[in-house]
């Protein structure tokens, strides 16, 4: 199963991943429209952290033993059978934020309209998550995980 590997050493902190994540999860998937046209652009599902010269972009790790899955009382958070990815079903989420509370990575956030949880979906449907595809320094890689 493919997962995003973070190579902290080579993250430049440019946040292009963030930009592309936002665009990918927007209505139009058009960068200009997303930023300049759509009334509210989606929240990024990738978190670029920066401390001194170290930066890295973190998104859902799709944990094998995912606390968010346990915590989700509606079953909105589920594991995709095919890819093993932890996904959030927008229809089912009621915004109780249990998932936010238990995710040790802090990579689930409230959606831009604050109604439901928003998290990395590995850009389902794309060959490669857009953060990985657009990382100019290959600090993110989409690789088969060890297991």
């Amino acid at each position: 199963m493919k997962r995003i590997r973070i190579d902290e050493k080579y993250c430049m902190g440019c946040r292009l991943c963030e930009v592309h994540c936002i665009v990918q999860h927007s209505k139009t998937k058009n960068i200009l429209k997303t930023y300049m046209g759509e009334c509210s652009k989606p929240a990024p599902r990738i978190f670029v952290e920066e401390k001194g010269y170290v930066t890295f972009a973190l998104q859902c790790r799709h944990c094998e033993d995912a606390p968010c899955l346990d915590a989700c009382m509606t079953g909105a958070m589920y594991r995709d059978k095919e890819t093993g990815a932890v996904l959030c079903s927008e229809d089912k989420c009621v915004g109780c934020w249990m998932c936010i509370m238990v995710c040790p990575f802090g990579v689930i956030s409230r959606s831009s309209d604050k109604k439901i949880a928003s998290k990395c979906d590995l850009c389902m449907g794309e060959d490669m998550p857009v953060c990985v595809k657009n990382c100019p320094n290959e600090a993110l890689k989409y690789e088969d995980s060890k297991d």
């Binding site: 080579y10 993250c11 292009l16 960068i31 930023y35 010269y53 657009n134 320094n137 600090a139």
Partner: protein, 507 residues
Amino acid sequence: MAKRPTPTEFIVERDKDRCIACQVCVRMCSNDVHIYDADTNTVTSDNSKCVGCHFCETLCPTDAITIKKNESSFKPNANWSVSVISDITKQAETGGVILTGMGCDKPYTIYWDHILLNASQVTNPSIDPLREPMELRRYIGRKPDKIELDYNKKGKIELKTMLEKQLKLEVPIMFSAMSYGSVSLNTCISLAKASHELGIFYNTGEGGLHKSLYKYGKNTIIQIASGRFGVHPEYLRTGAAIEIKIGQGAKPGIGGHLPGEKVSKEVSEARMIPEGTDAISPAPHHDIYSIEDLRQLIHALKEATDYEKPVGVKIAAVHNVVPIASGVARAGADYIAIDGMRGGTGAAPKVIRDNVGIPIEFAIAAVDARLREEGIRTKVSLIAAGGFRSSGDVIKAIALGADAVYIATSALIALGCSQCQKCYTGKCNWGIATQDPYLTKRLNPEIGVQRLKNLIRAWSLEIKDMLGGMGINSIDSLCGNRTHLRGIGLSDRELEILGIKSAGEPQ
């Protein structure tokens, strides 16, 4: 003293209709050109800080940025150009030497562009390198004039010649000296690993050897320069060859200062000097003031390494390069690397870079000719360096007489360098000529290695194509084979020095 404004060199053009204020440019510019205003959610620029490295342009996700040369300037004046006036202004303010980075950019004739290659027609078949063998392997090192054979009791031939240590190059291209310190460790790792995978060599410059690079020792030419940085027994043992650096094409005759702020912990360990102190390379080696002193150092190094490694000498292409090269050969060097005036540098006084030395084309042609005349060309290998831009330049240099070439600037361009010439500031946005950890990580060696390998692969393919066209299937047959070269637009004198005929002249 108050800074007097000089025209900004570049203008950052930002297409307001495309700028999404994502601030990638703001975050990525080490020169603080881009400024984000949170109140208006807009990004503006301070053009005066732009060095024209184009990093922001490359990253901008909406192509909203274009970096343009500022055409507005003082009144046009053929003599007093903007750069001349700017330099004078800077010097009037600081009393300092004008520094620059990378190779000479003055519009001197590039002789490579005045040399044409041959191809077979009718009388001699050209070769299709895709399907037929095409050899690019070269050996660098001292070679005897003749082989010594013996016959054993059974009458079987036995080889008596003990060939001295040679460097085996799968492609006659190597990465020229760039020190760790002047370039980042990731640059060094890229060069080292690529060399390892390509079966060629890279050169440490005077940067010593970082512990993570020891594993590439078999593909490393270690350099000994005047500052002797990082030179210790382990260093000498690790390299495949030792190169005494006498001069550098970009700055013949002068030394260098790696400023203390670039001497990070890691750099300090590789160079074996305390962190944060200047690394000063004197102009000369203080143990070499004459040719016999060079011989002394060559043999000291051979003695120190039990005669197990080739010892080469790198000199800058200067007016007297011919006798100097001859002397170097006689002093016992196993190879001579000649660096032409268009060779790069991390930092050099601009006046030196742009006015001292001669182009590699003349140097390599003249030296090869003289060594042949003196009957010592076969003993020593010649490596040409200094501004090789393409496989075309490479193959012409080899035809003029080089055994192999050193490339550095083109390797850096492969790694991202855009020739902004600001290496000496240590703020290289591409993560190449910097030790700032925020910047160095921008060069991911995994990408770097691949790009370098791609470059060399591409050039190799082209060289094979050109060789095939000439009906040659081994680079051995091209080395020094000037019959395949013709000059165009050159004076008789230039043709004579290059040792080639004019276009239109038959064999």
